[in-house]
């Protein structure tokens, strides 16, 4: 009711400024950089390579391993203990599941593709930025994938449905829901949908539609990033 204008002056369906690059890490097989507003994600892909310990190997197809990590100084300096946490473990898992539907790993039995996502600066929407960067990195690594994945968070602040929440909005003093989404670009299938907070059915459908439109824009930026590497 009171949320007529967004805190940073954007329109309700407007994204923060986006910047994307491919091939930013020299020693990695593939890498990507994705910046949306103040959130920065780097992703590096290594492999396919041999997988040890051996009990993790799957003789039918390869596996992917995702490691999501927010650097200790990345947000407000309050997440000071470095390394994994329950939160990062969960996000690693959902990122892995968001990326798996596009990959064909049957050509790489007993092997692994490692994806490392690092966030040196964060302002909400980190898992979405991470997925976008990882998708660029996978394509850059020359891995066979039927499609690319793009991701954005949608949600509501008070009674307004919004796209791409920043941290101030997530922490706004009103009912807020944050819904990270990931779409396969071509088929528009949803490969990630989580929800934090509550939202009505009507608002959720509206939010997903807005997210779909936003992802179209993001997918264009991802493509440009990859093509620019070879210009």
């Amino acid at each position: 009711m009171n949320y007529k204008k967004r805190l940073d002056g954007r329109k309700f369906d407007e994204l923060r400024p986006i910047e994307a690059k491919a091939g930013v890490i020299a020693r990695a097989d593939g890498s990507g950089y994705f910046k949306i507003g103040n959130t920065i994600a780097y992703a590096a892909v290594y492999g396919p390579r041999e997988l040890y310990p051996r009990f993790m190997q799957n003789p039918e197809k390869g596996i992917i391993r995702v490691n999501y990590n927010m650097l200790p100084f990345s947000s407000k300096g309050n997440r000071v203990r470095p390394g994994g946490s329950r939160r990062s473990q969960e996000i690693s898992m959902v990122t892995e599941k968001a990326l798996l539907p596009v990959l064909d790993l049957s050509e790489f039995p007993n092997s692994v593709i490692d994806i490392f996502i690092e966030l040196p600066q964060t302002d909400a929407g980190t898992r979405c930025a991470g997925i976008c960067a990882a998708s660029i990195a996978l394509a850059d690594a020359g891995i066979t994938m039927k499609d690319m994945v793009s991701s954005i968070s949608v949600g509501r602040v008070d009674d307004q449905v919004v796209v791409d929440l920043n941290y101030d909005e997530e922490a706004y003093d009103a009912p807020v829901a944050d819904v990270p989404l990931a779409f396969l670009n071509k088929s528009k299938e949803i490969s990630l949908l989580q929800m934090d907070g509550d939202i009505t059915e009507e608002q959720l459908f509206k939010a997903v539609e807005m997210g779909k439109k936003a992802c179209e824009k993001i997918s264009k930026i991802q493509r440009e990033a990859l093509k620019n590497k070879y210009k």
Partner: protein, 262 residues
């Protein structure tokens, strides 16, 4: 009526439509969805009559039977050596395939190839589970001593070798180095330090500009500029080069470059 949505040699990303309509056939790096042909790899579009394929610009080396590769010994086993060939899987070099000389039972295998040494090998078999067998029986397959190694992406190898080995023999002639190019992207160069440096520089330049057409001429002028003193040494250098040349030309036979290059 089919419609091409991109031009030949355009860069496509996974999920990008290449053709609309049923008149073309999908090949490597593409797949058909509905009436469209879609790219499944980052690479350059190549149209070969009715066949559409994508030539990858990056990616790990996919081992193929018959390829000559350069590998590093990473383990010495009971009956052979394990070789890292810079692909997703390591290769196995059996005793019988290793040398032409007799190896007695229980002999110390490190006398032949020790951990950390580099060898040029030929892939003899790749199974569905990606177990790779390699052999050293064949011309030019040997232990690589001295010189230096550089790594380039495996997709650039056809350009480094050139049509019928034109590019590589150009580099050999200009720099007077011995060069072996593995299909896995590892290149061995041996010569005088100054010339090695030039050869490395040139190969890196080729790898960087591999997707640009008309590369041979660019490299020729680049080489001429880099090796100015060549003219004085030329007659002598060419004679000397003959010998190693014979040995090294063997690997260039199975260059896949013909189909890739135009």
């Amino acid at each position: 009526m089919s419609k091409l949505l991109v031009k030949e040699r355009d860069v496509v990303v996974p999920g990008e439509d290449i053709v609309e309509g049923m008149d073309y056939l999908p090949s490597k790096g593409t797949y058909r969805e509905g009436d469209k042909i879609v790219a499944s790899q980052l690479g350059l579009v190549r149209i070969d009559g009715k066949v559409i394929k994508v030539i990858p610009l990056s990616g790990k080396y996919a081992p193929k039977r018959g390829d000559t590769v350069i590998g590093k010994v990473i383990d010495v086993l009971m009956s052979g050596w394990r070789i890292d060939i810079d692909s997703a899987y390591s290769a196995m070099l059996g005793l019988k395939e290793a040398t032409s000389s007799f190896i007695a039972r229980g002999a110390d295998l490190t006398k032949y190839y020790d951990i950390g040494e580099y060898i040029a090998v030929n892939i003899t078999n790749v199974t569905s589970q990606k177990l790779i067998d390699v052999s050293m029986r064949g011309p030019g397959l040997r232990k690589l001593e001295g010189g230096c190694f550089i790594e380039v992406n495996t997709s650039k190898v056809p350009r480094i070798i050139g049509k019928q080995g034109s590019m590589i023999s150009m580099i050999k002639q200009a720099t007077d180095c011995r060069v072996i190019v593995g299909q896995n992207g590892i290149v061995w160069i041996s010569g005088t330090p100054e010339m090695e440096a030039i050869a490395i520089d040139v190969i890196k330049k080729i790898a960087k500009e591999a997707h640009i057409p008309g590369l041979t001429d660019t490299i020729q002028t680049y080489l001429d500029k880099k090796v100015p003193k060549k003219k004085i040494v030329e007659p002598k250098a060419e004679e000397q080069e003959k010998k190693p040349e014979v040995k090294d030309t063997e690997e260039k036979k199975e260059t896949p470059s013909k189909e890739e290059k135009k």
